[in-house]
């Protein structure tokens, strides 16, 4: 599903973002990418969503080399990847339904189809009874679930969650992780980027540890030990 082949990313001449990254994430896999701040986690996410380009090497998603993706092709890639960030990035003046529908609207989805699909994705995340609420009327966990619902609108094969629980308490964190596992069980590849040791250790899934831009450990059923 996702391949990094000899990927290097440098900023300027001497700031290393990623160094000699080689990894292969198989379809339907749940992978946690962990590491301390500045380890290269966010750089990896930026390369995956084509926000930045690798200085060397190749980034391949679903057999598609996206290393030097043209601007005009980026929307096509992003419709196949769901992205969830730590900051919820919800529109405060729109309801839950409208926030999720917005993602479909801006990609040209027909109104009828939007009316069908939005309630379905909101049902997946357990917010089917809060369609008309505004973000400020929701808890942190619920807001993150709206973001996840929005990321599922294009039925992505790959979901990237970058610190999705960073702003949440332990109860909401558990709810979000359970939701990501459920989405993974539906067949979606999930990449969870986090520095939350407890979350990673409770998952008992593959863990890739980044340190100073390099992969220091890559284990099936791994643990995050600082």
């Amino acid at each position: 599903m996702v391949k990094f082949e000899n990927v290097n990313k440098t900023y300027g001449e001497d700031i290393v973002g990623l160094k000699d990254i080689n990894l292969h994430i198989k379809p339907k896999e749940f992978v946690s990418i962990v590491g301390q701040s500045g380890a290269g986690k966010s750089t990896m996410v930026k390369l995956l969503i084509a926000e930045e380009q690798a200085t060397e090497g190749k980034v391949i998603i679903g057999g598609w080399d996206i290393t030097h993706l043209r601007k005009s092709r980026k929307p096509i890639l992003r419709r196949q990847i769901g992205v969830v960030f730590q900051d919820f990035k919800l529109l405060p003046q729109k309801t839950v339904f409208e926030n999720v529908a917005f993602a479909a609207e801006v990609c040209g989805e027909k109104r009828k189809r939007i009316k069908e699909i939005v309630p379905k994705v909101l049902e997946i995340v357990g917010l089917e009874d809060k369609l008309d609420r505004y973000p400020k009327q929701l808890s942190g966990g619920e807001r993150q679930r709206v973001v996840i619902a929005r990321s599922l609108i294009h039925r992505p094969k790959l979901l990237i969650a970058d610190e999705p629980t960073g702003n949440l308490d332990s109860l909401n964190t558990k709810e979000i992780i359970d939701l990501l596992l459920r989405i993974n069980n539906f067949g979606t590849t999930v990449i969870l980027v986090t520095h939350n040791k407890d979350v990673v250790n409770s998952l008992r899934k593959r863990v890739i540890v980044l340190s100073e831009g390099k992969i220091s450990s890559d284990k099936e059923r791994g643990r995050y030990v600082i």
């Binding site: 969503i49 601007k71 005009s72 980026k74 929307p75 096509i76 890639l77 992003r78 419709r79 196949q80 992205v83 990035k89 529109l91 917005f102 993602a103 609207e105 801006v106 990609c107 040209g108 929005r150 990321s151 609108i153 294009h154």
Partner: protein
């Protein structure tokens, strides 16, 4: 998709309402300066035309010349390609016209009546198509076959008046171009700033759009359409201000310049040419400005 872009453009418009007001006001001021210049141009053109309309050559024939010869001269002059019209006024008509003109003046009328014979000559009034043609016509009248018939010729080309009006027109044009250039530049800057602020206030939407795979065209198009709305709104406001102002000023222009010209009809007949062109020009300037702003602040 198109309607969604229009919807988003409208949202940009009313979510930054006060910014929109400032932008539209500035565009209206710029357009108003252009329209004022057009009006002055039209008025002065008409002033020149009205003066030119008054130009003709009056040929007074000797009293003993037979009417047949005068009629032959009229036919010959009428056949000249540069001559628009030749009017014959015989002695009786000349006398009647004179009396009509001085009907209030008893002294003059009684003086004319006291004369034994009609003091007026047969007269041909020659009107040319172009002012430049008069010199040729006058030269022709100096030829022997005419000069023997003619008592005198009257020609006033009103050169001084026309050159003064033309000078004023040229000066107004020059100043107008400078004013238009300044206003266009300011309008372009304001539009640029409007787009910049709109991009800033919509940064969350734009981030989400990019994240979920909206195309660059879909992200940028509402900004372009918003600028077209600005152009349209400013043109409509201009029209709603300009026509009442014209109907107020028209009688004053006519009184001042001593001619009867229907300025409002002129603007109505050339509506699309005048306001359509202004709309297209503003829409073009706005699009260029917003394109530059988007290139700078909306990086993919």
């Amino acid at each position: 998709m198109f309607f969604r872009i229009i919807k988003f453009a409208f949202q940009n418009f009313y979510r930054n309402f006060w910014l929109a007001i400032v932008t539209v006001t500035m565009l209206v001021v710029a357009l108003f300066s252009v329209s004022t210049l057009i009006t002055l141009n039209v008025v002065l053109d008409q002033a020149v035309k009205s003066v030119e309309d008054k130009i003709d050559v009056s040929i007074y024939f000797k009293k003993d010349i037979e009417e047949a010869k005068i009629l032959a001269a009229k036919v010959e002059l009428s056949n000249l390609p540069e001559v628009e019209k030749v009017t014959l006024i015989n002695q009786e008509e000349a006398s009647l016209l004179f009396k009509e003109y001085h009907k209030e003046d008893e002294v003059i009328l009684s003086s004319v009546d006291s004369l034994d014979e009609n003091p007026f000559s047969n007269l041909l009034i020659v009107k040319a198509y172009n002012m430049e043609d008069y010199s040729g016509i006058l030269k022709m009248l100096d030829k022997k076959e005419y000069s023997s018939l003619i008592e005198k010729k009257d020609f006033d080309d009103h050169k001084a008046v026309i050159s003064k009006i033309t000078l004023i027109k040229d000066r107004i044009k020059k100043i107008g171009y400078i004013i238009i250039a300044i206003f266009s530049f300011i309008a372009a800057l304001i539009v640029f700033n409007t787009v910049r602020i709109t991009i800033y206030t919509h940064r969350n939407e734009i981030t989400i759009m990019r994240l979920v795979g909206a195309t660059n065209w879909f992200i940028r198009a509402p900004f372009l359409f918003e600028e077209v709305f600005y152009a349209l709104a400013s043109c409509l406001i201009l029209i709603s201000i300009f026509y009442p102002l014209l109907s107020f000023l028209e009688p004053h222009f006519n009184y001042f310049l001593e001619y009867d010209f229907d300025l409002i009809s002129y603007f109505k007949n050339n509506f699309f040419y005048i306001f359509g062109a202004q709309f297209l020009a503003v829409a073009f300037i706005n699009s260029i400005s917003s394109f530059i702003a988007m290139k700078k602040y909306l990086k993919a």
